[in-house]
């Protein structure tokens, strides 16, 4: 569990950093970014990065790391579903929001009813092994895993119903749903003690493999777009800065550099238009490398963001 958790930690951390500029400026980007942020919080609550006792100390030494982790995971999948709804232009399922609030409330209530000192546990496995006999523990974990599984199934349904179907998201949400279904079964097997100790150990490994594979695939799907956007951003930024440096020879007003960094595509476009205006009206001459640069910037602009008419 440590290795996939570490990988997940890096992936969610990258989502947090990489998507932050878009999330700040674009409303439609925020759910995807929040999904990564809550995912990161949920991974941290597993205790591999910050040891559980230290994490617990920050939260008041009352064992709240556990409920924080499960609520963060539910919220992470909730925001993932919101991003999928934006991506597929669909409405949320009927009764989704009241259902989500009810699930979080029930999860917290069951956790509060568990009869033991939570602060003595230093891992999720230790918590489950010791307290699975209590029905509130089985209920708490079932509601948590069930909520994540249901939200994954809803996301899977939205992706499945929208052409072209994204294979990455179908694979990711299927694996997460299947993994959580297996883990719920496993919890009740452990609670009722109707099987020997080998079966839960095997099923737990299956759950870990399915869940983490699914989540890592989903992170890949979330990051793919950000990665392409980042590449495009840097290309536009490069051309925008070069073009505004050429314009500096004309004593044109210096650009607002913050605007250039926030929206280099727009700055590149505006700079290119100004260069052409100066060339046409002011007799401004470009040398061959500058001319090549403006042609390349023009190709980039017409290739992606400005669609040509012909």
């Amino acid at each position: 569990m440590r290795e996939p958790s570490t990988l997940l930690l890096y992936l969610t951390g990258i989502i947090l950093v990489l998507r932050a500029p878009y999330a700040l400026r674009t409303k439609a980007s925020r759910p995807g970014w929040l999904a990564g942020t809550f995912g990161l919080l949920a991974v941290i609550c597993l205790g591999f990065v910050i040891p559980i006792p230290e994490l617990d100390a920050v939260l008041g030494s009352a064992g709240y790391w556990n409920i924080l982790g499960s609520t963060s995971a539910i919220l992470s999948f909730h925001f993932m579903y919101q991003a999928i709804l934006i991506h597929t232009s669909r409405e949320a399922a009927r009764f989704y929001y009241p259902g989500l609030m009810l699930a979080i409330a029930c999860c917290s209530a069951c956790f509060a009813l568990i009869d033991d000192k939570q602060e003595r546990f230093v891992s999720v496995e230790g918590f489950i092994a010791t307290l699975i006999d209590q029905p509130w523990t089985a209920l708490y974990l079932s509601i948590y895993l069930g909520s994540v599984g249901i939200i994954s199934l809803l996301s899977l349904y939205a992706v499945w119903q929208t052409a072209p179907r994204s294979k990455v998201f179908i694979a990711g949400f299927s694996l997460v749903s299947l993994g959580n279904a297996i883990d719920i079964g496993l919890l009740w097997l452990q609670h009722t003690k109707i099987v020997g100790p080998n079966v839960p150990a095997f099923l737990y490994k299956v759950y870990i493999a399915l869940f983490f594979a699914g989540v890592i695939i989903l992170c890949g799907g979330f990051l793919r777009g950000s990665f392409y956007s980042l590449l495009r951003y840097h290309r536009f930024l490069y051309y925008a800065v070069r073009i505004w440096r050429i314009l500096a020879h004309t004593e044109a007003k210096s650009p607002n550099w913050l605007a250039v960094f926030l929206d280099p595509k727009n700055a590149c476009y505006q700079g290119l238009i100004l260069v052409r205006d100066f060339m046409a009206l002011g007799g401004f001459i470009l040398n061959s490398s500058e001319l090549t640069l403006t042609h390349r910037a023009d190709d980039l602009l017409t290739e992606f963001p400005l669609t040509n008419s012909s």
Binding site: Y22, A28, H87, S89, Y269, R276, D277, L281, G282, L306
Partner: protein
């Protein structure tokens, strides 16, 4: 209107801005629209077909584009030797004039200033059209909502 699209290099008076934004509100632009789609949308608003002509005429040495309104149609000419993005900008500038209800795209009889951008933007009508050209380009080149969700 998102704030980032207000970062245009054209300074216009508040009255002109209101007029230009009113004109822009007559058409519905969405990300991914082509220049042809914008032309068709504007043609619907003005109620006349728009004919486009790219030219390499010598008379267009220092003129980037212009338009003429006839009884049956509107004729827009733009300089064909320019890069694509610049041709589109010229086209959007002329469409800006049409949206604002201007009857022509004028150049001053004598150069009022040595600054070439002032030659282009010498009156309110030209500034409004130029402002709209940047707005149209920015609005159609936004990322689609689905790309915004994951990109």
């Amino acid at each position: 209107m998102p704030r980032k699209y207000d970062n245009q290099p054209i300074r216009i008076s508040p009255q002109s801005r209101i007029r230009a934004e009113d004109a822009l509100s007559k058409i519905r632009l969405s990300p991914g629209m082509t220049a042809n789609d914008v032309v068709e949308t504007v043609a619907e608003v003005i109620g006349k077909p728009i004919v486009l002509e790219s030219t390499v005429d010598d008379r267009f040495k220092t003129t980037t584009g212009t338009f003429a309104i006839t009884l049956e149609f509107v004729f827009i000419v733009f300089r064909g030797i320019d890069p694509h993005s610049y041709q589109m900008h010229s086209l959007f500038h002329e469409l800006g004039h049409l949206l604002c209800g201007h009857t022509n795209c004028e150049r001053p009889a004598t150069a009022p200033d040595s600054d070439p951008t002032r030659q282009l933007l010498w009156n309110e009508a030209e500034r409004e059209a130029e402002f709209l050209a940047y707005k149209i380009a920015a609005l159609i080149s936004r990322k689609p909502r689905s790309s915004q969700a994951f990109g």
